[in-house]
Structures are given as structure tokens and as C-alpha cells.
């Protein structure tokens, strides 16, 4: 049960119960992308306003489990007001957090990745319990992949 408590930390449940930045921005002008987890049917819609290289506003819509929803909510809080390169960096850090353990679980020979600065992740660090539940990693990364997609599509 220890693991389960790590998965469902209070802060995660809080974001699930009271998701931040919920909704959709008018698009256009907002950038928009949809993410989809075919295995469990989770769907996420990320819309964001980028002005002068800064994420002025971001909203999250869609449906999913507590992990995918809270991850999306935390993500929205983490990137709002940041500039694109900071956002990209946060995405990369978060994905490393999730993939480290994926690699370890498979006992693969891939070299140890760079250590992550958990402090830099702030609240997001609460999601590290997810990596003990490999099936749920896709839940946690869905919104992040969708955000990355949005940026890629827009070429920013």
C-alpha cells in the first residue's frame, strides 16, 4: 500500500478534484492539439496563447483518470507565464523523470540518464510515484506529449 500512497499523493488528488486552468481557449488565435491514449480512452485538449515567446494562457479540456488529469493540471500551472524555452525544458525534465524508470524496469542496458533536479520540478515532483506503475506512465505523460505536439505543430 506504500506504493499506492506514493501514487495518489494528496496534491495529485487535489489537482484531480480541482483542476487548474480547465477549459478551452478560442482557437485560433490559441494554439490547439488533442492527445489520445487508445489503451484507456483518455482524451486531452490543450489550448494555449503564446505571445512574444511567452505562454500567456493555457487551458486543458478532456477526460481521463486522476493521473492524467492531475498531471495536465499541474503542467498547466507549471508552464503558464513561462517562455517557450523554459517550457521545452520543463517538458524534457518531466519526460526524463518518467522514462528513467521505464528503462530501469526493463533492465535494459541503456546508460543511466542525467540526474534530474527534482526541486526544479516543484509540485510536479509529486508525480514521480507514477513510475512504479508503468502502465500509468502513459497517463502522466499524455498532456505533456500533447503540449509538445502543440508547440511542434506551431513551430515555436
Amino acid at each position: 500500500m506504500a506504493d499506492l500512497e506514493e501514487l495518489y499523493r494528496e496534491i495529485i488528488l487535489d489537482h484531480y478534484r480541482s483542476p487548474r486552468n480547465r477549459g478551452e481557449l478560442a482557437s485560433p488565435p490559441a494554439l490547439r492539439a488533442e492527445g489520445f491514449n487508445p489503451l484507456c480512452g483518455d482524451e486531452i485538449v490543450v489550448t494555449l496563447d503564446v505571445n512574444g515567446g511567452i505562454v500567456d494562457d493555457i487551458k486543458i479540456a478532456g477526460q481521463g483518470c486522476s493521473i492524467s488529469q492531475s498531471s495536465a493540471s499541474m503542467m498547466s500551472a507549471a508552464v503558464k507565464g513561462k517562455n517557450i524555452s523554459e517550457v521545452r525544458k520543463t517538458i524534457a525534465t518531466f519526460k526524463t523523470l518518467m522514462s528513467v524508470h521505464e528503462a530501469q524496469l526493463e533492465e535494459s542496458d541503456t546508460p543511466e540518464p542525467e540526474p534530474i533536479d527534482l526541486n526544479a520540478l516543484g509540485e510536479l515532483a509529486a508525480l514521480q510515484g507514477v513510475v512504479k506503475f508503468p502502465v500509468r506512465i502513459k497517463c502522466a505523460t499524455l498532456s505533456w506529449n500533447t503540449l509538445a505536439q502543440t508547440l511542434d505543430d506551431a513551430g515555436v
Binding site: M1, D3, L4, L7, Y8, L13, Y16, L39, C40, G41, D42, E43, Q63, G64, C65, S66, I67, Q69, F133, R136, C139
Partner: protein, 410 residues
């Protein structure tokens, strides 16, 4: 309970397993069943004492392997009430291949643009996608029977949908709702409209008595791994005259009478539909599984699972009231042991995760039935499903887990 589950459980080694320091409570038989030791041993023994490729061999083990493999047709055919097992039982790799076989072989031969095939919105993707592929390829029309709010097939427009249809392909039991469909009546209706009927028996064959002759159906498909048997094998049964008129599906060794550089001559059924080395050990395992089920009695299994289902439905209602929705019909003759749950305010994934922490195995998701999920208006359900090895103590742990879930997310 009508079965002595405590004794039966000793036959299932996997049920001894502990997960997270708890007894494993297996409630996922609709996804795959747990094989009894005798099935596992039958396959091991086969590999340790007999294995050889079938057909054509004259040496002792090749002959024995061939006899075991061919004998499996009789065992399976006997279980289904097939009149001519030797010619009618085709071994495939799973239900999905069986339905694809039907769509490719019978479908391409007998269907042309505009011909209709009728399915229902409660079908598993295995009984939807192959027909959609045919629709794309040759332009058949796919029609859907609807489902009522209680989870029954809506039969009001059955005659209308069957008008001009060539095939009704329908599940005998829903893998999401547990609904048991009236196959005999559906067969009558199909035949009255000059259509054939294929039954997806993936969920029904393991849990309900099947008799292809008295229910007067034309084709039936099911999977070994849901009927206490191994993975890697499925069954396709077809009426002999229909199989005889069907062209081959996959091409290769074993399905031919002759091959020349300019063409081939197909063998008779069932070989015509079994290209390549078949699932030999799996056929040995499957027939052992069926013998095991017959030893207990499929009627007894049905009675047991029916009782369990009633008990579970009542207990969930008593304890959770409107906080838990169980999709599908009420307990009774028309409901099998499949409970798709929605817990208020909690996603199915989270339900399943927390149930796992108390050792309970349920499956979250769309259960390969997305059209039905859209109708139900939920992205996913947490599905608990019974097998003959389940008992009321399993239901208790399920309830404990649901309570813990509700509390965590309160």
C-alpha cells in the same frame, strides 16, 4: 453456492498467487481465464513425450500428435453440439481470426457492394472491424442493432435491419454488459430473411451451454484462452455445407490438394482453412480444458456464476446505492457474470489501480467495445467478471476495494 469452489480452486495454481501481500482475487475471466493444472500439464506432457508436426508423418510420435490434434476436433465439436466435428471444427489462433476468416472467405465470395451485414453496437471490435474492412473494400453496408437503456438488444427494428441482409453476426453474450442475447430467436429471424447467422461465442461458450444444432446457427467463433485453455488457439465452427462452399482464407501448406507453378487446388474443410503448422499443443490444451469443464458441467457452472452475479449485484447495491452504477441488465436468465462498474467521480483506471492494491484483478478501459462505450456515455468502465473458480469471498474483497477507492477519492 452450487459449486465446491474451495476444492476446485486447488486445480488452479495461479490462484495461489499473492499480490501485494494479499490473496490474488481474479475477476478478469472475460479478458482471459485461468487454466487449471491439468491443462498446463497436458501441454507440457505433450511437449515432453510426443511433440511432432502433424499430418504426413508415419513415425510413432508424428502419428500420435496427429491423432491428438484431430481428436481435439471431436472434443470441441462434442462440446458445441456440432454434427460433424471432423469436418466442421476449424482451429484458428483466436476468435478474432475466426471472424476474419468468415469475413474474408465467406464474405468476399458472397457479398458485393450494397449487401448488408447486421451487427449490434454491443459487439466487440473483433465483430465490427472485419466488416468495416469489407465495407471499405467492397462496399458492403454495415447495420447496427441498438441497445436499450437496460442493456438489452433492441429488437423492434430487427426485421427492418434484416431486410435484404445476407448475414447477422452477433455476440451471444456481451463482454461489457453481460447481456445474454436470444440467439435462437435471432437465428430464426435471420433465416426468415434469407440471411445466415454467425455467433461470436467468445463470452458465451465458456459460461453458458452451447448447442449449435438446436439453436440452428450457421457459424460460431470462440477462443481457447477464455475457456480455461491456452492462448494461441481459437475455434471457428461452420455448417458443413457452408464450409464446403467457402474458398480458402490463408494459403500455404496443409490446405492444398495440389500445387503447381500455375495454380493450386484447395483441400476440403477443415484443412482448407488451416494453412501452415497448426496450434498442436494448444489443441491438446484446449481439449483438456473442455474435458475439465465437462467434468464439472456447463450447467452447473452457469448456475454457479448466475448465483454469484446476483449476490454481487445485490451487495454492491446495498453497500453503494447510487454511488456505483453497474451497467447492463439485472441479475437473471439474461445476464452473465460480467459487471462493468462506474464509481461516482472516479475514473475506471483509478478504480482498477486501487483494487489491485488489495489483490483484486479487474480490467479498466473500453473493453474493445468503443461503440458501446459511446452509447453508455462513459470513457471506460472497471469490469469485474466471474469464472467458475470465483466465490462470494472474492465479492467481499471486491467490495472492500471499492470502499477504499470511494474513500480515497471522497
Amino acid at each position: 453456492m452450487s459449486l465446491d469452489v474451495a476444492t476446485l480452486r486447488k486445480d488452479f495454481p495461479l490462484l495461489d498467487r499473492k499480490v501485494h501481500d494479499r490473496r490474488m482475487v481474479y475477476l478478469d475471466s472475460a479478458a482471459s481465464s485461468i487454466p487449471p493444472q491439468c491443462v498446463i500439464d497436458a501441454m507440457s506432457t505433450y511437449y515432453e513425450t510426443t511433440h511432432a508436426n502433424v499430418h504426413r508423418g508415419v513415425y510413432a510420435t508424428a502419428e500420435e500428435a496427429t491423432r491428438l490434434y484431430e481428436h481435439s476436433r471431436k472434443v470441441v465439436g462434442g462440446f458445441l453440439g456440432a454434427p460433424h466435428p471432423d469436418e466442421e471444427i476449424v482451429f484458428t489462433k483466436n476468435t478474432t481470426e475466426s471472424i476474419n476468416l468468415l469475413a474474408h472467405s465467406w464474405g468476399r465470395k458472397n457479398l458485393t457492394a450494397g449487401d448488408a451485414v447486421v451487427v449490434s453496437i454491443m459487439e466487440h471490435h473483433a465483430n465490427i472491424v472485419p466488416w468495416q474492412m469489407l465495407a471499405e473494400e467492397i462496399g458492403i453496408e454495415l447495420r447496427f442493432l441498438q441497445v436499450s437503456d437496460e442493456g438489452y438488444l433492441v429488437l423492434d427494428d430487427l426485421d427492418q435491419l434484416l431486410e435484404g441482409a445476407k448475414l447477422l453476426s452477433i455476440t451471444a453474450m456481451s463482454n461489457v454488459l453481460g447481456t445474454i442475447n436470444p440467439i435462437k430467436e435471432l437465428a430464426q429471424a435471420a433465416h426468415a430473411h434469407g440471411a445466415l447467422i454467425h455467433v461470436d461465442g467468445a463470452q458465451s461458450v465458456p459460461h453458458l451451454p452451447t448447442d449449435v444444432a438446436t439453436s440452428d446457427i450457421d457459424f460460431l467463433s470462440f477462443s481457447g484462452h477464455k475457456v480455461l485453455g491456452p492462448t494461441g488457439i481459437g475455434v471457428f465452427w461452420g455448417r458443413r455445407d457452408l464450409l464446403e462452399a467457402m474458398p480458402p482464407f490463408l494459403g500455404g501448406g496443409g490446405m492444398i490438394l495440389d500445387v503447381r507453378t500455375d495454380g493450386f487446388l484447395a483441400a476440403n474443410p477443415p484443412q482448407r482453412f488451416e494453412a501452415g503448422t497448426p496450434p498442436i499443443a494448444e489443441a491438446v490444451g484446449l481439449s483438456e480444458a473442455i474435458r475439465y469443464i465437462q467434468g464439472i458441467g456447463i450447467d452447473e457452472i452457469r448456475t454457479h456464476e448466475r448465483e454469484l452475479t446476483s449476490t454481487a449485484l445485490k451487495a454492491i447495491d446495498d453497500q453503494f446505492g447510487s454511488r456505483v452504477i453497474v451497467h447492463g441488465p439485472p441479475a437473471g436468465d439474461l445476464r452473465g457474470g460480467v459487471l462493468s462498474l462506474t464509481l461516482e467521480g472516479v475514473h475506471a483506471h483509478d478504480v482498477a489501480q486501487i483494487l489491485d492494491s488489495v489483490g483484486v484483478c479487474v480490467r479498466p478501459g473500453h473493453h474493445c467495445a468503443k461503440p458501446l462505450m459511446r452509447f453508455l456515455g462513459v470513457p471506460a468502465t472497471a469490469r469485474a467478471s466471474f469464472g467458475l473458480y470465483n466465490d462470494t469471498d472474492d465479492i467481499e474483497v471486491l467490495l472492500e476495494g471499492l470502499e477504499a477507492t470511494a474513500k480515497l477519492f471522497a
